[in-house]
């Protein structure tokens, strides 16, 4: 079932893309150095991190106390992972040297038995592994494993890999199905992802087995966290109580095979699904793949914002009820959308179904990068679909939904997560099996794959065109399978696919969102894909209360929104006509330069000053302007809406 034996490595792909190169550049040139200085407590005015300092203290290199969240170590791991990808994208000897120094400190902090978590090493050595529910030891371990895998791939240096192997071995010695071992599993999933990456890099089955153990042990005993609490007889945070925790929050209420609905903390859920999908593909485990697909379908059919946002409920940063998708109160954490990319990517490596690539694209062009200000300097954790000055970030129910991106947070999860996603973007572009090269994303690049070198030129997401130039590496025939976005309709005359200038009939070759082009490829072969980029009006399911009567505008993969700045305020009084005339045009100056904007011939409803009146509002023609959603809140605080009412 798995379509690719090995993951694509970041270094195989050189992104050269009008849209993404700039974003990658911000990440490597602005965010990674900034983040490093934050971790080293060198940025005045930013909340103290102390994350590297914690490692120094644990390593005995410094005197001092632990400071920060119990999962502060993961900030260092995520930074290292991002820096590793950045080194793959753009070699930087000085950065590599600084990373090596940090790895050396980490190695020194590791305990003789392999244990590694600075909170417990420094602060509560007697309480190790007693609170899997809340204490994130396995979570931090997982992130360190991901960093190690990325770092060895990028640099060939295996020092961190050896640290995490010792850590993984320590974990294996302590947890597992065998008698005498603790039958536990983490309160925040992530170690499963890390163990799978350790397996992919080392080929050692024990790490994959341990990932499977943690996944399959989960939910077998839904009272595990409660029993753990009773057993330890003390409490980390808050008052000691013997209340049973709500373990649906941790996806520990049922086994992974019993879970049919995406519930609880969205990032926890998605990291788990990602590991499940990876394991399913790696082992060719159809039952596990089906469990993933059931959860995938629930998200995509009932719990996904049009922007790709997931986990709409601020309470517990969690999935809400099916179809409960409030716009102004949305949580839709940047990290959750990033994790949805991970999940989609792993599903895609298991089965080449365009729905995974479509959602991956939706996340990439919308609710992931909306997390970063256009200048790369400030970040949203929460990505609402409606924002109202004086309400958002202020009133009851809206405290989390900031109208402007703030700076660095004490809980610095989203920016480093965005860094590692964007820096490793190349990974998500391709999969390869023995006979087929799959192109998942239309992102301009030079790719060095096993079967061919392929360059891809494209003006995506602004134009529907992509040119693939293929240079095969071997004599054998192979298939180039290109993902065709779900909204492309080859029945339209304007949508064409050519090989060396000759049209091919894609209908015959299209299967589950991919056109399969099998041939004896020759150097210089050119595949060209062209399709019209129309403004699409999208309606939500009738079960979605918040979007009743409304439409959202999309063009290609890009979701649009309306801001007060362009529309003289009162966005709720604007109407999109049923028969809509809309124009897309390139913005040529200002902060939005380079983005395609949409102008719509619409209406504005106007009325009197009374609060309530029997007089119907009057409909006036108005030119409305929409901008890409990801670029909202870059022009000062103002109203924003993705969904506008439609006027019949």
């Amino acid at each position: 079932m798995k379509i690719t034996a090995d993951e694509i490595q970041v270094s195989q792909v050189k992104i050269q893309d009008a849209f993404w190169s700039e974003i990658q550049g911000k990440v490597t040139d602005i965010v990674i150095p900034f983040q490093e200085r934050v971790l080293k407590d060198q940025v005045p005015g930013v909340e103290k991190s102390h994350a590297i300092e914690n490692f120094r203290i644990a390593a005995g290199l410094k005197e001092g106390e632990f400071y920060g969240m119990v999962f502060q170590d993961s900030d260092v791991a995520k930074w290292l992972e991002g820096a590793a990808y950045a080194l793959s994208v753009k070699p930087d000897a000085a950065l590599e040297e600084r990373a090596d120094e940090i790895i050396e400190i980490i190695e020194k902090a590791q305990q003789p038995d392999g244990y590694l978590d600075t909170y417990f090493i420094v602060k509560e050595p007697e309480h190790r592994w007693q609170n899997l529910h809340e204490c994130h030891e396995l979570y931090c371990a997982g992130h360190m494993m991901e960093a190690a895998a990325a770092y060895v791939e990028a640099t060939g240096k295996d020092r961190l890999l050896r640290v995490t192997e010792r850590l993984a071995d320590h974990i294996i010695s302590r947890f597992g199905p065998e008698e005498g071992k603790e039958h536990g599993f983490p309160g925040h999933q992530e170690v499963e992802v890390g163990l799978m990456k350790l397996y992919h890099v080392t080929g050692k089955e024990k790490y994959k087995d341990m990932a499977r153990y943690f996944l399959e042990e989960r939910g077998k005993n839904p009272d595990y966290f409660y029993q753990e609490k009773v057993k330890r007889g003390w409490q980390h945070w808050g008052q000691y109580s013997l209340d049973k925790p709500d373990v649906a929050y941790n996806q520990a209420h049922q086994t992974i095979y019993e879970q049919k609905e995406a519930v609880g903390h969205a990032v926890r859920a998605l990291y788990m699904y990602t590991a499940m999908a990876d394991l399913a593909g790696t082992d060719g485990d159809r039952r596990l793949y089906q469990a993933c697909r059931t959860l995938w379908d629930n998200i995509v059919n009932c719990k996904l914002y049009i922007t790709g946002g997931i986990g709409g409920n601020p309470e517990g940063e969690s999935f809400s009820n099916n179809y409960e998708l409030p716009n102004d109160m949305a949580y839709a954490e940047t990290c959750a959308s990033i994790a949805m990319v991970f999940f989609a990517h792993r599903m895609l490596e298991t089965e080449a179904d365009g729905v995974y690539a479509d959602i991956m694209e939706k996340e990439l062009y919308n609710s992931t990068i909306s997390g970063m200000q256009l200048d790369g300097k400030r970040y949203f954790y929460v990505n609402p679909l409606e924002s109202e000055p004086g309400v958002s970030g202020k009133l009851f129910g809206y405290g989390h939904s900031l109208p402007q991106r703030p700076g660095w947070y004490a809980c610095a999860c989203c920016p480093p997560n965005l860094v590692r996603l964007v820096a490793s973007l190349g990974k998500y572009c391709w999969s390869e099996s023995d006979t087929t090269v799959y192109s998942h994303l239309m992102i301009g690049q030079r790719a060095e794959l096993d079967q061919a070198d392929i360059t891809l030129e494209t003006a995506y997401p602004w134009e529907g065109s992509a040119v693939y130039r293929v240079t095969p590496k071997r004599e054998e025939r192979f298939t180039l399978a290109i993902h065709i976005p779900y909204y492309v309709d080859f029945w339209q005359e304007e949508a064409v696919l050519t090989i060396n200038g000759e049209a091919v009939d894609p209908g015959r070759l299209l299967k589950k969102g991919y056109v399969y082009l099998e041939r004896q490829w020759k150097a210089g072969d050119v595949v060209e894909l062209r399709f019209p980029m129309e403004v699409r009006k999208v309606y939500a399911n009738q079960h979605v209360r918040e979007n009743a009567g409304c439409v959202a505008l999309l063009r290609g993969p890009v979701v649009y929104c309306f801001e007060g700045a362009d529309n003289q305020g009162l966005l709720q009084s604007l109407r999109i006509p049923r028969e809509m005339k809309a124009w897309a045009h390139l913005c040529e100056d200002g902060i939005l330069k380079g983005n395609v904007l949409i102008d719509v011939e619409g209406y504005r409803m106007t009325g009197g000053g009374e609060l309530y009146s029997e007089k119907p509002p009057v409909k006036e023609k108005a030119l409305l302007r929409a901008i890409p959603y990801y670029a909202w809140a870059n022009r000062g605080e103002n109203q924003m809406r993705v969904w506008l009412l439609e006027e019949g």
Copy 2:
């Protein structure tokens, strides 16, 4: 400026009305006895009250500890006030005897210096009057004064009145502008209302002066509560901190003359406005009246739900921003709507402007009585305009917004407040000046006024008809001024006003919502008012985000809502046509028997199962049914909406 010298007394009016008699009956026969048993801790399964017991302990009649809220005493006061009105409505010797017994206990609990508050008498005698900000001593005193005024009116017995006079004198000895007195004011306004009532009953200027002092001292020093905290050096609840409290919550941020916007805790605000309006009218104080009018206008033009709900923000049960009127997250406390009746009533006694009577009517027929289940046994504190099973009362942001009326609360403010309103309904029907009798409400009754006995027969609010039969008591000419609801249009042929069968031209006689009929009234004179009762479609101001594109249905003063029970669910998919056909019809069976329901030829939008689709939803004809808002949530948990989308 004041249009009436003395308030109407409850005993002057005998309600005989198809709509209200039943509700009054529930209050006197079900709620008052139930509440008495709660106060006496005789109802199993209901949260312990201990309120009477606290008085017994304070009186030295029992050993024990204080239990309950710091304002637990007010529950007894509110019950006594309600019971007094009930005795006016329907004499009941046994009830009166039990009330007398309670009053005797209260008298015994009073301290030699006049102090009366069981929390401090029993629990913290050394801390009296040190925390006006949070401790409700003046609040409880105010309610006791209201009870005393009602009780002496109902029974002629002045024992409680004498208790509260001693209490008021104690307060006057302690607070005031004079040197050596504390220049304080209450954290929860109410004593101002009580002092005004004490003045009206006793005629003693000192009580009115003290009311004015508390009103005018307020906000002069916005740091008063902060300084009080610093001075006492201890904290009642929570951690001791030297943060300055947000005194806009208590309307203590500015003087009453500087306040232009209704802000903070809605009930606190409205009790204050009520006392301000009473004082303005009583003293003929135009400046103060204008201050009231400014606040009134802000509420009515920017902060009032169509149902009459006010204080939409659950955080602090407070007023939100102008036009910020969320439906499903609304707080709209029953008590706040009741207090809005008090405010409207006092404004009406000061100036006969129909806008006050219209809003009083809106409150009475909608968001006050929506607080009580149709059987009188369960109560809403929160009155949302949209309710969603699985969301309301459950999810983040909706915890307060219950989908079903629960039973008695620990903080038992709303049910007793509703009792005292409904039991004293007669008070709100009339005002009298030397020359004019004002009829504010069309409620069937026999009224014994100074200038005439008047019977009123009406099928209001279901039909637009009222017959006044006048029996003058004196020879002099006088004016009968009848409030004409704002939606009645005498330009329509069907709207007529007759005296003894002869049509009069109301246009000439209509001033600010009242027709003024001046004549030499003779026994048997009949004034008849008839107007059509049409279903009215109402739009909200374009600034109200939540109601964009929506309409609400009203008929007479009654606001309607749609429930899932009548409309096969998915209320958000229903549409009211721009050109609406609607029929009103009397419900003849079931729990809604006697209510007029509305059927509308509308639409239901249907679509596919996809979460998002480019396919527009399909419009299907559907017969929609609306029921009076106040009667919602009497048929099990189901969806409810006041505002439905309009389809052009």
